[in-house]
């Protein structure tokens, strides 16, 4: 059988995850962890080869389909965009996690789960069947439950993991109910065939609502977001970066794929997305405003950024124009880079200031005082990340927000204009908690923990520098990403029409 190249992008990580787990048992204790990490890293590096080939193929032909038995895969621009973010962030997180986890038990499980989750998420982006979508989604969720509750001895970590599991599982039950409805209405679960056959009816509205809420738990739509700050703050920092940078976006991608099958009341879906977008921005900002734990603050800011993506995509569906969705997806990439960087940089400080000293308390803002003098690179990259998230030019976040806003104004609809101004106001509001973070980092008087802090391992600094450079390059030259965003935007819009 002729297997298209993109299937390897999904298969390599999933298959090697078993290898990663087994390799961990070759060495005893920390050495096993290092072997696992090495295998995982190499596997992901190898995955880049088929990815580049697949991306090129999709660029030339638009989309590739593959049906193996009952599993149907469909790789289009959106899949490629999402795969790029997942693979990019994933590779860096594997590199980063080495020192962070040194001394922990069960590292081989961590790397195996992480690599498997990467493969599964790429698969999720390619799902072409409602039930497959659910399977990919559930598989990703299972990997992430285990990763969030990685610190099995810590009560807070267990609490966060359990809450995440129950809330997320409730969401996937809702998706299953929706699939039940679809089965009763239509003879197929294939997304494209469904779109062609399904008739607008009340049931379709109910199904859509179930999809929005079911996948919305993972996307952290307000008021379904309550698991997010706990999970993001308690997970190992590399996993926080993955959760915030790609996992919640995976929920968004799944929601869009599912809704695209019910394309008929497109107007309703777009308005729902816009409403949730506005709500997410405001609630996320206000919740982050008075937060004093760094990772929790960053977690809440993820709500806000999901809001921007929703608005971009919502506007696009509302008017049937691709540019806002391109902006929203561009923001997905940039948010992955910026929030990934922010979590990783905060994680470095958490590691040097707390974990290395066997202290498992949270990293609070005051701990960062004076970090710039001891850890100049970490401080600079953290500042760049949060300022980029706040939307200051010439950093990546500004450009994607700008693209969403321009596209919003091009609709020439007063309500959308008002929404964009609201989004811009929220962006300014977010500076009220990002900027103080930068101020604290650059204080002269170091905090007690900074004075005691240990050194930063080089393998943790490399991902920070790479991400920071990416943020600046995209900020200065935004069209460098248009090879990903513009096919993805048009693929998304095509799926809905």
């Amino acid at each position: 059988m002729d297997i298209p190249i993109f299937a390897w992008v999904i298969a390599i990580p999933i298959i090697t995850s078993a290898l990663v787990y087994l390799a961990g048992h070759l060495g005893k204790g920390p050495r096993g962890g290092r072997i696992s990490q090495g295998v995982a890293f190499v596997a992901l590096l190898i995955t880049w080869v088929p990815f580049v080939l697949a991306a090129n193929e999709v660029r030339l032909s638009g989309s590739i389909e593959l049906v193996v038995g009952t599993v149907s895969l469909y790789c289009d621009g959106l899949s490629i965009l999402f795969a790029a973010v997942v693979l990019g962030l994933g590779t860096l997180v594997v590199l980063y996690s080495g020192p962070y986890l040194a001394g922990e038990n069960g590292q081989e499980k961590y790397y195996a789960m992480l690599v498997a989750m990467i493969g599964v998420m790429i698969g999720l982006g390619c799902a072409n069947d409602l039930f497959d979508l659910w399977i990919w989604f559930e598989a990703m969720a299972i990997c992430s439950y285990l990763l969030v509750a990685f610190y099995r001895e810590r009560p807070a970590s267990l609490e966060a993991g359990l809450k995440y599991l129950v809330q997320s599982a409730t969401g996937s039950v809702l998706v299953l109910i929706a699939i039940g409805f679809v089965v009763s209405q239509s003879g197929t679960l294939n997304l494209q065939e469904l779109r062609a056959t399904i008739q607008p009816s009340f049931t379709v509205l109910v199904v859509g609502a179930l999809f929005v809420i079911g996948f919305g738990v993972k996307t952290a739509l307000v008021p379904l977001h309550t698991w997010l700050p706990d999970a993001h703050s308690q997970a190992p920092s590399g996993i926080s970066a993955m959760l915030s940078g790609v996992v919640i976006e995976a929920g968004l991608v799944a929601m869009l794929r599912a809704l695209s099958a019910l394309a008929t009341p497109i107007h309703s879906w777009s308005i729902l997305l816009l409403l949730f977008g506005a709500l997410n921005m405001l609630v996320g900002n206000l919740m982050a405003l008075r937060q004093n734990q760094v990772k929790r603050l960053l977690a809440y800011s993820s709500l806000t950024h999901v809001g921007y993506m929703l608005i971009g995509i919502g506007i696009s569906l509302y008017v049937g124009e691709g540019s806002a969705a391109q902006g929203g997806l561009f923001h997905l990439i940039n948010h992955g880079l910026m929030k990934g960087l922010a979590f990783l940089a905060a994680g470095v400080l958490l590691y040097t200031l707390h974990i290395q000293l066997d202290d498992h308390g949270p990293l609070i803002i005051e701990d960062l005082a004076g970090a710039a003098r001891r850890y100049p690179v970490v401080a600079l990259t953290l500042s760049l990340a949060v300022l980029g998230l706040g939307g200051l030019p010439p950093l990546a976040g500004f450009m994607s927000k700008w693209q969403i806003c321009v596209a919003g104004f091009e609709t020439k609809e007063v309500l959308i204009w008002a929404l964009i101004v609201f989004a811009a106001l929220n962006s300014v509001l977010s500076l009220a908690y990002y900027a103080p973070l930068v101020n604290v980092v650059y204080r002269k008087q170091p905090s007690r923990v900074v004075q005691q802090g240990g050194p930063v391992p080089i393998s943790m600094s490399i991902p920070l520098v790479i991400l920071a450079l990416a943020i600046i390059v995209i900020g200065v030259w935004p069209s460098v990403m248009s090879w990903l965003t513009s096919p993805a935007g048009s693929a998304l819009l095509a799926a809905f029409s």
Partner: protein, 103 residues
């Protein structure tokens, strides 16, 4: 199966969903919460079968149901494992006491 059996099925589904959601929202015991989740999944399984039955796709939904059972079991196992760990580390199974993360 005929129409009346799918009515019975429907009533069963609604009943199970009701029990499941009621359990999720009111129970304080972790194990019971996992059980409530299981009840919800069973309700949807029944739903899938009824839906497949009414639209003559029983083969399709049977394969779906088996897959769902597998995936769901994994989730239940992880849930129970977490509950066991929580009982060990925190010393309680009461979710009301598991609210150290807030604000």
């Amino acid at each position: 199966m005929n129409l009346s059996s799918s009515y019975v099925g429907l009533i069963g589904i609604l009943g199970l969903l009701g029990v499941g959601f009621y359990g999720l929202l009111t129970t304080r015991n972790l194990i019971r919460i996992v059980i409530a989740l299981q009840i919800l999944v069973k309700a949807t399984l029944l739903g899938l079968i009824v839906a497949g039955n009414t639209s003559n796709q029983i083969n399709l939904v049977q394969s779906l149901a088996v897959t769902v059972i597998v995936a769901d079991t994994v989730v239940a196992v992880i849930g129970i494992a977490l509950a066991v760990q929580i009982r060990r580390r925190v010393g309680t199974l009461d979710v009301k006491e598991l609210s150290t993360l807030r604000g």
